[in-house]
C-alpha cells in the first residue's frame, strides 16, 4: 500500500469522505437543499476523479481491490445512477414530513459499497462491499417511518439479506477450505492447475455463492422478496435497489465467475441456465395480471435479470459487452420509470396503483410521454435503448448457440409486452367524466387521487434520461465505443 495505491482508490475515498462531511453538516445545520448540494458535489467529484485515476489502471490495490477499466466504468455507472436518484429523492422527500437529510448519507454509503463491489477481486472485499451496501439499504427501505409498508420492506429485506449473506459466507468458507485462497485470480490458477481437488466441496461452495448473488439480483428461486420490497420502499429508493445494487452485483458476478473460471464447470453452467429460464418465465408471468405498477416493475426486473443472464451464459468478449450495454440501458430505463412514479407520488402515498396512471396523458402529457418511452424500452421496441440492449443479448446468445435460452428469452419477451401495454393503455385511456371534470377544475375531492407538486430536479432528471434513452437507441455507437474500450478488457 503506497501513495499511488491510495491515489487509485480516490473515488472510493471521496465517496466515503462525502458521507462523513454530509453527516457532520447535518449535525450542525439541517437543510435539505444544502445536504443535497453536498451530496451532488461529492458524487460529481468522485465521478471526475475517475478520469484522474484512469491512467493508473489497471492496478491491483492490495489483494482486495483491483482498479481496472472495468471497475472504473462500473463505478462511473454507479455514481451517475446515484446522482440521478439523489435528485429524484429531493423532490420526493421534500413532500414528506420528517428529516430527509440522513437519506443522503445512506445513499453515499450505498454507492460506496457498490463501488467496492465492482472493484473487488477477493472474497473479503466482496463481503465488505456487500454489507456496506446492504446495511445502508435496510435503513433506506424503511426511511419513511410513518408508513407501515416501508417499515415492513426494511425488516423483510434485513432478515432475508442477512440470511442469504449467511449462505454466501458459508459458500466462501467452503471454497476457502478447499483451495486455501480467497483471491479470484488465484482460485482460477488452483482450479485449472490441480485436477485432484475435491470438486464436491468446491461446487457446493460455488452453489451457495450463487445463492448470495441470486438473492441480490432477485433471480428465481431467490426472488420472493422482490415485489414486497419494491412496493414498500419509497419510490426513489426502489429505483436505487433496482439499479445500483443489482448492477454492481452483476458486475461482480461477471468478474467472479469469469476470473475464477468456475463458470466453465458444467454443473455451474447448468444451474445458471435453470435460474435464467426460471427467472424469465416466472418474472414475466407473475407480472401479467398485477395491478400495482411497482410490483409489475419488480416482476419485470426479475425477468430482465434473467435476460442479462442469457448474455452472461454466452461467455466471452461479446457477452461482457452485451451485459454491460444491457445494464446501462436498464439503468436508464428503470430510473426513468421510477422517476415518473416518484414524480406523481405525493405526501400521502406512492402512486403505485395502475389506476393512478389512468388518463395520465390528459393530465400530464410530458410525464406520460416519458413513461411511455421507458415502458417501450423495457419491452424492447426499436429506437429505444432497450431494443439495442436486447438485440445484443440475443446476438450474444446466438453466437454461443445457447438456443434454448434465446428461445425462452424471445417467447417470454412477448409475454412482457402484454403487461407493459396494459400500463400504456391506462396512460392514454380517457378519463371518466367526473375525473375529467376534477382534473380540469380546481379541487381534487377524492382522497385517493394524487396531487403532487412536480419537482424541477426530478423533471430535469427525467428529461435527461429520456434523451439518453433515445440517443442510445438511435446512435448506440458512442456508448458501444466506451464499453468496448473499457469493459472489453475484463
Amino acid at each position: 500500500m503506497n501513495v499511488t495505491d491510495l491515489f487509485t482508490l480516490l473515488p472510493l475515498l471521496i465517496l466515503g469522505g462525502a458521507a462523513i462531511v454530509v453527516m457532520i453538516v447535518v449535525a450542525i445545520h439541517r437543510s435539505h437543499i444544502l445536504t443535497l448540494t453536498l451530496t451532488l458535489i461529492g458524487l460529481a467529484l468522485a465521478f471526475a476523479s475517475l478520469w484522474w485515476i484512469a491512467p493508473e489502471a489497471p492496478r491491483q490495490v492490495t489483494s482486495l481491490l483491483v482498479i481496472d477499466r472495468y471497475a472504473i466504468f462500473y463505478t462511473g455507472l454507479v455514481i451517475a445512477a446515484t446522482f440521478a436518484v439523489a435528485l429524484l429523492c429531493y423532490g420526493y422527500f421534500e413532500r414528506h414530513p420528517g428529516n430527509p437529510e440522513e437519506l443522503y448519507i445512506l445513499l453515499l454509503l450505498a454507492a460506496l459499497g457498490s463501488a467496492v463491489l465492482v472493484a473487488s477481486s477477493h472474497f473479503i472485499s466482496f463481503f465488505l462491499g456487500l454489507e456496506i451496501l446492504s446495511v445502508s439499504l435496510y435503513a433506506m427501505n424503511a426511511y419513511i417511518r410513518a408508513w407501515s409498508l416501508p417499515l415492513e420492506a426494511g425488516i423483510k429485506y434485513l432478515i432475508l439479506a442477512a440470511s442469504s449473506a449467511a449462505f454466501l459466507l458459508f459458500g466462501m468458507a467452503l471454497v476457502y477450505a478447499e483451495l486455501g485462497t480467497m483471491d479470484f485470480a488465484k482460485i482460477r490458477e488452483l482450479v485449472t492447475a490441480s485436477p485432484d481437488l475435491n470438486r464436491a466441496v468446491l461446487l457446493a461452495g460455488t452453489a451457495l455463492i450463487i445463492t448470495g448473488f441470486g438473492f441480490k439480483l432477485a433471480l428465481v428461486p431467490f426472488h420472493l422478496w422482490t415485489p414486497d420490497i419494491y412496493e414498500g420502499a419509497p419510490a426513489p429508493v426502489t429505483a436505487f435497489v433496482a439499479t445500483v445494487s443489482k448492477g454492481a452485483m452483476f458486475a461482480l458476478l461477471l468478474r467472479y465467475f469469469y476470473w475464477s473460471g468456475t463458470h466453465h464447470f458444467g454443473a455451474v453452467f447448468l444451474v445458471f441456465t435453470i435460474i435464467a429460464i426460471a427467472s424469465m418465465i416466472a418474472g414475466n408471468i407473475l407480472a401479467m395480471l398485477q395491478t400495482n405498477v411497482k410490483r409489475i416493475l419488480a416482476y419485470s426486473s426479475i425477468a430482465h435479470m434473467g435476460y442479462v443472464l442469457v448474455a452472461f451464459q454466452a461467455g466471452g468478449q461479446l457477452a461482457v459487452q452485451a451485459v454491460t450495454f444491457y445494464l446501462v440501458a436498464y439503468f436508464i430505463t428503470i430510473i426513468g420509470a421510477f422517476g415518473v412514479i416518484t414524480m406523481i407520488s405525493d405526501g400521502d402515498r406512492d402512486a403505485d396503483s395502475i389506476e393512478d396512471y389512468r388518463g395520465l396523458f390528459w393530465r400530464r402529457p410530458a410525464l406520460a410521454a416519458v413513461f411511455t418511452a421507458m415502458l417501450l424500452s423495457l419491452a424492447g421496441i426499436p429506437v429505444t435503448a432497450g431494443f439495442v440492449g436486447k438485440f445484443y443479448v440475443i446476438s450474444a446468445g446466438a453466437s454461443s448457440a445457447i438456443w434454448l435460452l434465446v428461445f425462452v428469452l424471445i417467447v417470454t419477451s412477448v409475454f412482457g409486452l402484454y403487461y407493459y401495454l396494459r400500463i400504456l393503455v391506462a396512460l392514454y385511456s380517457g378519463l371518466a367524466h367526473e375525473e375529467a371534470h376534477a382534473a380540469s377544475g380546481a379541487a381534487m375531492v377524492s382522497s385517493s387521487s394524487l396531487a403532487p407538486a412536480l419537482s424541477i430536479s426530478g423533471g430535469v432528471v427525467l428529461a435527461v434520461l429520456t434523451i439518453l434513452l433515445v440517443w442510445v437507441g438511435v446512435y448506440p455507437a458512442t456508448l458501444l465505443n466506451i464499453i468496448h474500450s473499457t469493459v472489453g478488457l475484463l
Binding site: M1, M23, I24, V26, I28, R30, P97, G98, N99
Partner: protein, 125 residues
C-alpha cells in the same frame, strides 16, 4: 465414491425421527386440564402480555456499546502493533478515530445523549 451409504444414512435418519414421533404419539399420555395450555414459568402464574413495549433508550445503549466498545477493539489492536505499523498505521488510526468522533458529534447533536429529559427534545421533527 459409492452413493448408497449416504442414501442409507438418510433413510435411517428419517426412520429414526419418524419412529420417535410416532412412538411418543402412541405411548405418551394425554390430558386436557385447566392449566395444560398455559406456559410454565417456574410455577408462577404468568401475568400480562409478552409483547411489552420496551423503551427505545435500551436499544440506544446497546448500539452505543456496539459502536464504541467494539471499535475500541480495533484501537487496541493498533496500539499493540503501534511500533511495527509506524506512521502509516498512525494516520490510519487517526482517520478511524476521526470518523468515530464525527459520529459522536452527529449523535450528540441529534440528541441521542440527552438522557431522560423528554421536556426539551433537540431533534427537529
Amino acid at each position: 465414491m459409492a452413493v448408497w451409504p449416504i442414501g442409507l444414512y438418510f433413510i435411517l435418519v428419517v426412520l429414526l425421527i419418524l419412529g420417535m414421533l410416532i412412538g411418543s404419539h402412541l405411548l405418551g399420555q394425554r390430558h386436557s386440564e385447566k392449566a395444560t395450555g398455559q406456559p410454565y414459568e417456574g410455577g408462577i402464574l404468568s401475568e400480562g402480555s409478552a409483547q411489552v413495549r420496551l423503551s427505545a433508550k435500551f436499544y440506544l445503549v446497546a448500539m452505543f456499546f456496539v459502536v464504541f466498545d467494539l471499535e475500541a477493539v480495533f484501537v487496541f489492536a493498533w496500539a499493540v502493533a503501534g511500533k511495527e505499523v509506524g506512521w502509516a498505521g498512525y494516520w490510519e488510526i487517526l482517520v478511524f478515530i476521526g470518523i468515530l468522533i464525527a459520529t459522536l458529534i452527529y449523535l450528540w447533536r441529534l440528541g441521542a445523549l440527552d438522557w431522560g429529559s423528554p421536556g426539551r427534545p433537540r431533534r427537529r421533527v
